[in-house]
């Protein structure tokens, strides 16, 4: 396998994460692979429990027992994160790799001024130690970049609203100009207008710094507005990846199709149809394709053989037997009437 194509800020290869539970090992992430180019924004979506947050945590090596990384590689700017010792890993976080969590605003220290907290992040993770004056100038600039007034520097977290705190956390995440920002549901606790402002902020500062973004979230509207490429996860597997335009206009995997048709919008006044059935057990995932028990197009082969990812459109890859090994691209969502027997994964 070739090592880190030029321009890939993140390369995840065959990532596996498991949790030890009394019922057995839960396979939370099962062989996930994807890459994010420099300056690109990549989204991961799926129902709760699909493994999207676990994937993000594994990239940052934040998986705690009873969870563990059971296999695969994570390369950030060519550095293998999973093999790093503690000290280089600590340096790599913030400087190369920053995290904005859901409710990150609640992770601010309540008795420390906002400016001091950002200064702390810079001095404890940065290479060089800037002077006090230089530090303050830099932080004020950062606060300005996320649309906060300079006086926020001397404010305590409780003096800021939720949206302002969340933006302060984005400022902190950018403080060391990381190559990749991992944002896990960064706006889900916020009001809709504030969400829009925070999303704008993420997009703008990313573009200014040339930072890449991994956006974890279930809000398809937000993903549509923010990312370049989108990956859909189901039961620990990445079932489809493609450009955001293709994923919304021509979703190929039946799960992606159902996911997109169940998105609520202000266009139609009908309740979106829920996807029938429930996600499978991660301790005993079904044989064959993980989605076959809920799939409207399930065929015999789906119950027996796990589908390998295959190209289903320009830059679009889906793990689904409907698309066989057929080089014909552009088959529609409906099951093509053909015998799947004999197809191998």
């Amino acid at each position: 396998m070739e090592n880190g194509r030029h321009g890939d800020v993140l390369r995840v290869e065959g990532l596996q994460v498991r949790y030890r539970t009394p019922a057995g090992e839960a396979q939370a992430v099962r062989g996930v692979s994807f890459t994010i180019g420099r300056g690109a924004r990549f989204g991961l979506v799926g129902e709760s429990g699909c493994g999207k947050s676990t994937t993000a945590n594994a990239i940052l090596r934040l998986i705690k027992p009873p969870g563990y990384i059971a296999g695969g590689r994570v390369l950030v700017d060519g550095v293998d994160v999973l093999g790093l010792r503690d000290e280089p890993l600590r340096k790599l976080r913030w400087s190369k790799l920053a995290l904005v969590m859901q409710g990150a605003m609640n992770s601010l220290n309540p008795v420390m001024r906002v400016g001091e907290q950002i200064a702390d992040a810079i001095t404890s993770h940065g290479e060089a130690r800037p002077s006090a004056g230089e530090l303050e100038r830099r932080i004020t600039r950062l606060l300005g970049a996320v649309g906060l007034p300079a006086r926020a520097y001397r404010m305590f977290p409780h003096e800021l609203s939720g949206g302002m705190k969340q933006r302060a956390c984005i400022a902190m995440a950018m403080a060391l100009e990381p190559a990749l920002i991992v944002a896990d549901e960064p706006t889900s606790a916020l009001d809709v207008v504030v969400q829009r402002v925070v999303a704008q902020t993420l997009r703008e500062v990313g573009e200014r710094l040339g930072a890449s973004l991994l956006l974890i979230g279930h809000d398809m509207g937000l993903q549509a507005q923010l990312v370049h490429r989108l990956g859909v996860m189901y039961a620990g597997e990445l079932v489809e990846v493609g450009t955001v335009e293709a994923m919304f206009a021509r979703p190929k995997h039946p799960y992606t199709q159902l996911l997109i048709s169940s998105v609520p919008s202000l266009k139609e006044r009908t309740l979106p149809k829920p996807i029938p059935g429930l996600p499978p057990s991660l301790v005993n995932p079904p044989a064959g394709c993980v989605f076959h028990p809920r799939c409207p197009h399930a065929m015999d082969i789906c119950r027996a053989v796990a589908p390998a990812p295959r190209e289903v459109g320009p830059g679009q890859v889906a793990a689904c037997h409907l698309y066989g090994d057929d080089p014909r691209i552009g088959a529609t969502g409906a099951a093509p009437a053909r015998d799947a027997a004999g197809q191998t994964a």
């Binding site: 800021l160 809709v192 704008q200 549509a224 507005q225 955001v244 006044r269 829920p274």
Partner: protein
Amino acid sequence: MAAPVLEVRNVGKVFSRGLIKKEELVALDDFSLRIEPDRPTITAIAGESGSGKTTLALLVLGLVTPSSGQIVYQGRDTAAMSAREWTTFRREVQAIFQDPFEVFNPFYRIDHVLETVIRKFKLAGDRREGDRLIRETLSSLGLKPDEVLGRFPHQLSGGQRQRIMVARAVLPDPKVIVADEPVSMVDASLRALILDNMLRLKRERGISFLYITHDLSTAYQISDDIYVMYLGGVAEHGDVARVIEHPRHPYTKLLVESVPIPDPAAGWGENVELPPEDEVRQQTRGGCRFARRCPHVMDICRENPPPLYEVGPNQYASCFLYRDQPVKAAGGAGAPAGRPLPVVAPS
């Protein structure tokens, strides 16, 4: 004409804090709403945090007393109800809350919460009848009684727990259910299921809902009417399709525009700026609450609170942009009686 099922009449709620220097927060200001008796309706109360929507829920449920105005149920002021009327009110106006995890006592089987309602309101003559009622209600909400009864809360999924809370609210055969963010903590597929339950309860059992939410898309999907709240007041209200499809108040427009569209080709448009929260809170007295953020602000907006103007059939906006339109008649839902306004030219 029969009295409205529920009427909120010019209700205000001021919370004060501080011992020496009293600081007052107007959570709800001169708010009016009616649920008419002729047909069951779902009325959405939509707003962001701090809009006063949860205060309204607590007021309607009688969990908080109004600072001014009245809550009138079936023609009777709740503040003047006899003990018996109050019990009836408590039975007929039920609630569903946001968090299906917090409302259960983890030490009791879920049967307990349902049996308590039956006992409290004497809904059944004996245990067998009560049990039958519980099973019927659970089944009508798409739950299998044998899968949930006898279990502890932690043994059930979030969706099952939330639907048991719906069952609990439905058991006493209420006329009104106040649903405060009932689906904001559940997954998309469960959300559709619970909202569908609400629609069916309205249709089949004639229950009206006050649906309190921050989510315009679900309000649009299931409601008949909507009140868009901003800092304790009504920005716009009326028929939900009109308000969402043709918003007239600048705040409603901003809200509708800010809902991210699940279509990469349809952009968000221009960036929006938010003024700091402290500045916004400071200017709520006197003029229009939205003046500080409004792109169309005029001098008049800083001096007077705008009444609700009739901007379309069953659509009212509290905005001076529509001051050529008739002011909504007092007595109906909504506006403070329009006081005479000085004529000020738009700036």
